[in-house]
C-alpha cells in the first residue's frame, strides 16, 4: 500500500479528553441540504413555535430526509443562507426561547423490552424518522440499509481506520462512548440483516483498537471481529480494507457492494444508537475544533445549525485571525469563507489555521520528477493526468484512469513544484462525467 507518513496533530485536540457540552445557542440556521440527495420541503413558516427534535422539513420523495429543529424557539426566517459546501442554500433559522425543551416523545430512554421487539423494518423506519445520514459522506442511512437488504449484503464493516490530520471526532467517541458505538453497530447489523460484522482499525491507531477489543471482551460480544489494516495515509482505502477483511486480493475498482460488504462510519453507529435507545433525532454531533488559532482546541457537542463563530466561542474564542478556515481535515477539507456558516450533519471538524502552517504556494511548471507516482494509494499516474489536463487534452487524460482517484491529496502534498494536482484531477473527472 502506497502512501505517505503524515503528522496527524491529534494531540492538539485530545490533550483534554472530553467532549464539551456548550450552552444552548441563542439562534441556529439549519440548512435543508445536509446529506447526499434532494432537499425536503419546509413544513413550518415564520413565527411558528418549534420544539427541540421537531420535524421542520419533510418530503415523501426517496432521496429526501427529514430535518429536525435543534433548539426550541420560534422560526425567524425560511430562506437562503450560507451553506458550508453549496455557497448559499435554503435554510430555516430558529431563535431560541431559552428553555431548550424536547418535543413530546423524543429523548426518552427505551427499556430492553421495547427494544427486543424491534424488527429490521422498524429500525430502518426509525433511521429515516430520526434523520440519520452517514456523518462523514452524507449517504442516507435508511436507503443504504434497504439497498443492502436488496443486494444481499452479508458483511458490515465499521470503519475506524479513517484518520485525518487534526480530526479527532471519531477518536474521542471511541475513548468516551465505546459501548454506545458497539451497541449502535449491533443495531445496524440487525437492521441490515448481515451475518458478519467487523471493525477495522489502522495499525497506527493501536490505542483505540485496545479500547474496543477490551469492551468487546467485557460485554461478551462475539459476533464482531476486529481487523487491523496496514499502510500509510490514507488509511482507509476501501479495496485495501476489503482485502484485509475478506483475506483475499480485491481489485481496486471493486465497489464494496460487489463483494457483499457495506461500510459504516463510527459516528453513524453512535447516532444510530442514540436514535434507537433514546429516540433522539440527529440534532447534535461531535465536532473537532482545532488549529493553532483556537484558544482551547477540543471536541464539542455542536448542535446542527450552530454557526462556526459560536462553536469557536465555546472553545475560548480565536487567539488571532486565521489565514484559512477549513471544514474537515487539512488534507481533504473544504475552504470556508464565512464565520457564520452553520454546522451540518457531516461537519466533522472546523480548523482555524494561521499563515505559517498553511502558506499559499505559487506553482511552478512540472519538472516530471515522478514523486507523485509512488505515493498514490490507487497506483495511477497523476503526473500524466495533470500534464494532459493542463493542455485540455481530456480524452488523453482519461486513458490514465483518473476515475480511480480518491482525492486523498498525497500527490499535491509531495509535489516539489507545488502544483494543485488534485484540483486538476477533479476537473478531469468532471469532464469525464460530462461526456
Amino acid at each position: 500500500m502506497a502512501g505517505i507518513e503524515i503528522a496527524l496533530h491529534h494531540d492538539v485536540s485530545l490533550l483534554d479528553p472530553v467532549i464539551k457540552t456548550p450552552d444552548t445557542p441563542s439562534a441556529v440556521v439549519i440548512p435543508l441540504l445536509q446529506h447526499r440527495g434532494i432537499i425536503a420541503k419546509p413544513i413550518v413558516s415564520v413565527g411558528d413555535r418549534v420544539f427541540k427534535g421537531q420535524v421542520i422539513a419533510d418530503s415523501n420523495e426517496p432521496g429526501a430526509l427529514p430535518v429536525h429543529a435543534s433548539i426550541s424557539g420560534r422560526v425567524s426566517s425560511v430562506g437562503p443562507a450560507v451553506h458550508p459546501k453549496e455557497g448559499i442554500h435554503v435554510s430555516i433559522a430558529i431563535t431560541s426561547d431559552g428553555q431548550d425543551q424536547w418535543k413530546q416523545g423524543c429523548h426518552v430512554e427505551q427499556t430492553q423490552d421495547d427494544l427486543k421487539s424491534l424488527s429490521s423494518e422498524n429500525l430502518i423506519q426509525m433511521s429515516r424518522e430520526f434523520g440519520l445520514c452517514d456523518l462523514r459522506s452524507g449517504e442516507i442511512t435508511h436507503q443504504k440499509l434497504k439497498e443492502g437488504i436488496e443486494s444481499s449484503v452479508d458483511t458490515l464493516i465499521l470503519n475506524a481506520a479513517h484518520m485525518e490530520p487534526f480530526v479527532t471526532s471519531d477518536s474521542i467517541l471511541i475513548k468516551l462512548k465505546a459501548v454506545e458505538i458497539l451497541r449502535g453497530f449491533e443495531w445496524l447489523v440487525r437492521a441490515s440483516g448481515a451475518s458478519k460484522a467487523y471493525i477495522v482499525f489502522s495499525e497506527r491507531d493501536f490505542e483505540n483498537q485496545e479500547i474496543i477489543s477490551s469492551k468487546l471482551f467485557s460485554l461478551k460480544i462475539s459476533n464482531i471481529e476486529i481487523v487491523q489494516s496496514k499502510g500509510q495515509y490514507p488509511y482507509d482505502i476501501e479495496s485495501n480494507l476489503l482485502s484485509e477483511v475478506l483475506k483475499k486480493k480485491v481489485p481496486l475498482k471493486t465497489k464494496p457492494e460487489d463483494v457483499g460488504v457495506h461500510f459504516y462510519s463510527l459516528a453513524t453507529a453512535f447516532a444510530f444508537y442514540e436514535a434507537v435507545q433514546w429516540r433522539k433525532p440527529l440534532i447534535e454531533r461531535v465536532v473537532t475544533v482545532s488549529g493553532v488559532c483556537v484558544v482551547y482546541p477540543q471536541n464539542v457537542w455542536a448542535r446542527i445549525g450552530m454557526s462556526y463563530e459560536s462553536v469557536f466561542e465555546v472553545c475560548g474564542g480565536l487567539l488571532r485571525y486565521p489565514y484559512r478556515l477549513i471544514l474537515g481535515s487539512s488534507m481533504t477539507g473544504t475552504s470556508q469563507t464565512d464565520l457564520q456558516t452553520p454546522v451540518i450533519k457531516n461537519t466533522d471538524a472546523i480548523l482555524a489555521l494561521p499563515k505559517e502552517d498553511t502558506p499559499f504556494h505559487e506553482s511552478e511548471s512540472c519538472i516530471r520528477c515522478g514523486d507523485c507516482i509512488p505515493v498514490c494509494p490507487v497506483s495511477i499516474n497523476p503526473a500524466m493526468i495533470v500534464e494532459d489536463a493542463m493542455n485540455q487534452q481530456w480524452k488523453k487524460a482519461f486513458k490514465f484512469s483518473p476515475d480511480l482517484c480518491v482525492e486523498c491529496g498525497n500527490c499535491t502534498y509531495v509535489c516539489p513544484s507545488k502544483i494543485p494536482m488534485v484540483e486538476w484531477i477533479k476537473e478531469t473527472k468532471n469532464q469525464l462525467e460530462a461526456i
Binding site: 474564542g317 484559512r324 487539512s330 469563507t337 511552478e364 511548471s365 509535489c415 488534485v422
Partner: protein
C-alpha cells in the same frame, strides 16, 4: 522572613494552549484579551490539501549537486588550474543564458533553483579538459538557450540540454575531440592499452586524460540512498552495456568504467524532465540508451557514443510515458 512555598498559582501548569507549554496565567490573559478577533480580510480559499511537504525543486536539485561534489573535489585536486576556469565559465554561462532567456521569453526569473547549475556541471564532466572558454559559452548557448529556454524553461524540455551542448561542440569544433585523440575529462577510448586491461586503475586512479570513477559511485550511492533517483534507469543501462559488450567479446568492466558511461547512467539519464515517469518505462528507456550506446561505440565510431544513445532514448520518452501505464484502463 516569609517562607516561599509553591502554591498552585506559581506552579506552572502544562495546558494545551496552542499545543505547546504555556502557564495558567498566560491562558487567562489570552482569554481576556482575545475573543473572536475582528474580521481583517477574507479567508484564503483554495482546494485541499492545505499543507504541503518541504519538498521543493531547489531542494531536489541540491541533492544532485551534492552528489556531484565528490567528483568536483577530485577534479579540483587533480587538475585545478585547468578545471577551475572551465567551472567558472560553465556556471556563469548557464546563469547568463537562463536570465537572458527568461527576459526574452517573458518568464519570472527562477535561476536560484539550481537546475542550470546541475546542467552546467553535467556538461563540464562530459567535455575534454582542453575546451576553451569560448567553446563552453558556444556549447551552452546551444544547450541552455536553444535547448532549454526557447522550449519553455524548467521542466519543458524533452532532450537533455547538456547532451545537446556536447553535440553542438562535437559538430562545430571537432578539433577539441580529434587533436588530443578524444581526451575528455572522462573519455573513452583515450586510455593507453596497458591501462585498459586493469579496471581497478580506471576506478581508483584515472589517467592523464580521464578522472577516476569512484567519486561518481559515491555520489550515486548517495542519490540512491536519498531516493532521488530510481534504480531502474542506471542499472538497466549499465547491465545492457555490460551484457552487450560481453557478447561482443570485450571486457564489460573496462567498458563500463571507461568514458562517461557511469556519469551518464547516474546523472544524465536520470534527469527528470527528459526521462519517463514510471519505473517500467524507465527500464525500457535505459535499455534503448544502453543498446544504442554500445552499438555506436563498436561500429559507428562516433567521438562520444553516449550522445547518440542518450538522445535516441530521450526521443522515445513521450511515447513510453503514454503507452506504458501502471494501470491499464479497465
Amino acid at each position: 522572613m516569609e517562607k516561599k512555598t509553591i502554591t498552585n498559582k506559581t506552579k506552572p501548569e502544562v495546558t494545551r494552549f496552542l499545543g505547546r507549554e504555556k502557564t495558567e496565567g498566560n491562558r487567562k490573559i489570552a482569554q481576556k484579551v482575545f475573543k473572536i478577533v475582528k474580521k481583517e480580510e477574507p479567508f484564503l480559499v483554495t482546494q485541499a490539501p492545505f499543507v504541503r511537504s518541504v519538498n521543493t525543486v531547489s531542494r531536489k536539485m541540491g541533492v544532485f549537486i551534492l552528489a556531484l561534489s565528490p567528483l568536483l573535489g577530485v577534479a579540483f585536486f587533480e587538475r585545478g588550474s585547468l578545471f577551475l576556469p572551465q567551472l567558472g565559465h560553465a556556471v556563469l554561462a548557464a546563469f547568463v543564458f537562463e536570465i537572458v532567456g527568461s527576459i526574452i521569453f517573458k518568464r519570472p526569473l527562477r535561476f536560484w533553483n539550481g537546475n542550470v547549475i546541475l546542467l552546467a556541471l553535467a556538461f563540464l564532466f562530459l567535455i575534454p579538459q582542453q575546451v576553451t572558454w569560448w567553446g563552453i559559452w558556444f556549447a551552452l548557448f546551444f544547450g541552455i538557450f536553444l535547448g532549454r529556454e526557447s522550449l519553455g524553461g524548467l521542466g519543458k524540455y524533452r532532450l537533455h540540454p547538456s547532451i545537446l551542448a556536447l553535440l553542438s561542440l562535437t559538430i562545430f569544433f571537432p578539433e577539441f575531440f580529434l587533436r588530443f585523440s578524444t581526451p575528455m575529462n572522462l573519455m573513452y577510448p583515450a586510455i593507453p592499452q596497458e591501462l585498459s586491461i586493469n579496471p581497478s586503475v580506471l576506478f581508483f586512479k584515472g589517467s592523464e586524460y580521464a578522472l577516476p570513477q569512484w567519486p561518481i559511485c559515491v555520489g550515486a550511492l548517495y542519490l540512491l540512498a536519498k531516493k532521488a533517483i530510481r534504480w531502474q534507469t542506471p542499472f538497466v543501462y549499465l547491465a545492457s552495456i555490460a551484457v552487450l559488450s560481453f557478447v561482443l567479446g570485450k571486457n564489460p568492466l573496462v567498458e563500463i568504467l571507461s568514458g562517461s558511461i557511469l556519469l551518464v547512467a547516474f546523472f544524465v539519464l536520470t534527469e527528470w524532465s527528459s526521462s519517463p515517469l514510471t519505473g517500467k518505462a524507465q527500464a525500457l528507456y535505459a535499455l534503448i540508451a544502453g543498446v544504442i550506446t554500445e552499438v555506436s561505440r563498436t561500429w559507428v565510431g562516433s567521438p562520444e557514443a553516449v550522445i547518440l544513445g542518450v538522445l535516441a532514448a530521450q526521443m522515445f520518452t513521450p511515447v513510453l510515458d503514454r503507452y506504458i501505464r501502471i494501470r491499464s484502463r479497465a
